[in-house]
Point group: C2
Chain length 359, copies 2
């Protein structure tokens, strides 16, 4: 029997991706989009790289508004495996519900949680690290993957490596989880080699995860287990679940008491947090204009950056470095890679003043 | 009798305005567009500021493809006054044909030629200068308006002032016409106060203009007079007329022999040669995003420059200085004010490779 025989993948498919507006919208969030230009959405890629590890043992947890779109993207996935949240309650509720369901379905289960909207360019390294994480998790550890930093990123949280974990070469305890650092601090983290990026990937037994949650909020864990036992109580119980991320509810307190392990890995990971990251992913760092979409629609002169021609119209860019142009049928964004984070301010403004259909 | 009783305005309405692509196209050139944001096209404004001087004494010379559009823009103008060129033959042919027609219609005529796609923000100063030019032209001078330079423009030709013209205070002979200068030379022109911008405005008796032309190219003048005498010969004669600007054919050689006068004036003139000029005209120099069109469609954060929302879509601009964004239903341009001149390279590329309907 392989360690993976009872390994389940949980894919929380949520988040508006407002920094990727106007591609990503409330009605069509980031995970439904093809951001790598190969015709597959981020969600499809996420499933693609997990299927070799889990076969059909996977759950997708998504908003009720997106369930139909998710089913359409994943024709090979059993509709029963696509769980609809009545409303967004942050990652602890989504992942905790999956844990409570799996606890009942498979007493031997180890689950791994992987966001639907990240990219991994080295799936073999990813598979190998997840397999090792599953082995560690079978010993009742909560396990996370720690991504080797490739630059001094200020947009990610970090994991500080603790003592080596005996019996698992290369695996460490998590000393602590660190919030997004300043540029100076990030550079020290990279140079010091004792930090990894926190990609929010957690592997563990459902029982372990829920028991860790119960230590801080027993009522939260009870409600999740109640929903799993009586799905018809979902609407009654879901809306009052706390809004909290799994990191804060479980991973950080557990790390503080030495109960989280980390498997270091360099799987070519990115969360594509904004158009600067997307531009880098698509090769714009090489001094050219990268195009996500039909390159025949783009005419660039003396420019570098990213163009997303998404309305069928011609897009001409002249004399701009590190520019970002995102063309959609009803909204157009023009910014620079440097200011890509501020795109969310446009969305915030639109939510306030409308038109709402553009948000 | 006023000096203006026999003053005729000739408005050559041609030119593709490729540096204002994608607003200006072969099928809808610059003069047909509202570039000041008040609902009137440049052509309409040109007529508006000439009517107080000429009443109904005006001729518009335009391409056969644009005659219907011109008539639609100018419902108060007699359709007979809108002359269609069978093909574009540069400004000497267009203005010379008008001269030949007016020579027959009104033996006392003085004509002034004013491009259909320039702006004048001080029409009173313009009127006053034109009136003075007409008075001088009645003495058989060819007269031009010399625009006071307000900055060291490198995109315009200059007029060097010669001796004062006796009997007309403030009016000078033209010493010579100077090609577009380098930035250094332009600055010297501005500092020296002896140069004016050449706005291509010429005032003179039709006979004087044609006789000056005949000195260099008698056949050219003969053919223009033949077309005016027998309009049915237009197609036969027009296509073989030389392609030359009125500046080269008439104004420069006449200035070299001391037969051109210049009336200095500061009428707030601009030829809106590119989006940089348009941005300045619309107030973008004051550190904000100027909008030509529906400002409700534009959301700008930490940006300056010009946005032309022309497709009904929302245009969001984030973190870009001196940016130019021009949105039309079938093509989008993103550039900087600094590189606005290079927009014509996009048009040149499209003419080569298509799609032609976008040029």
């Amino acid at each position: 029997m392989s360690a993976l025989d009872h390994f389940w993948a949980v894919i929380p498919a949520g988040g508006a991706g407002t920094r990727l507006w106007p591609v990503s919208r409330a009605a069509a969030p980031k995970f439904l989009h093809d951001l790598t230009g190969d015709g597959r959405s981020l969600l499809q890629h996420t499933v693609d790289r997990l299927v070799p590890l889990v076969e059909d043992r996977l759950l997708v947890v998504t908003g009720v508004a997106h369930r139909e779109a998710v089913l359409a993207e994943l024709p090979a996935v059993d509709p029963e495996a696509v769980v609809a949240e009545p409303s967004p309650r942050d990652s602890m509720a989504a992942i905790g519900l999956a844990a409570a369901m799996l606890e009942r379905v498979d007493p031997l289960a180890v689950m791994g949680s992987f966001a639907a909207d990240h990219v991994v360019t080295d799936p073999a390294a990813f598979e190998e690290a997840v397999s090792r994480a599953v082995e560690v998790a079978q010993e009742d550890w909560l396990v996370t993957l720690g991504i080797t930093p490739t630059y001094a990123a200020t947009g990610f949280g970090y994991i500080r490596l603790g003592e080596p974990l005996s019996g698992h070469p290369g695996v460490h305890l998590v000393a602590d989880f660190v919030e997004k650092p300043s540029a100076d601090v990030a550079q020290r983290y990279v140079d010091g080699r004792a930090h990894r990026w926190n990609a929010g990937m957690f592997v563990g037994r459902p029982r372990v995860l829920l028991d860790l949650l119960a230590e801080g909020d027993p009522d939260f864990a009870d409600r999740l287990r109640a929903i799993a036992a009586e799905p018809e109580r979902m609407d009654e119980l879901w809306a009052r679940l706390p809004l909290i991320a799994v990191d804060h509810a479980v991973a950080e307190p557990a790390a503080a008491t030495g109960r989280v392990a980390v498997v270091p890995v360099d799987p070519g990971w990115d969360d594509i947090g904004d158009f600067d990251a997307l531009a880098g992913l698509l090769g714009a760092d090489e001094g050219r204009v990268s195009v996500l979409g039909d390159a025949d629609l783009v005419r660039a002169i003396a420019s570098t950056g990213l163009v997303v021609p998404g309305s069928g119209r011609l897009v001409a860019v002249v004399g701009l470095d590190d520019v970002v142009v995102v063309d959609t049928p009803d909204a157009l964004l023009v910014t620079s890679r440097e200011h890509a984070q501020r795109v969310k301010e446009i969305v915030a403004g639109l939510r306030e003043t409308g038109p709402q259909h553009l948000t």
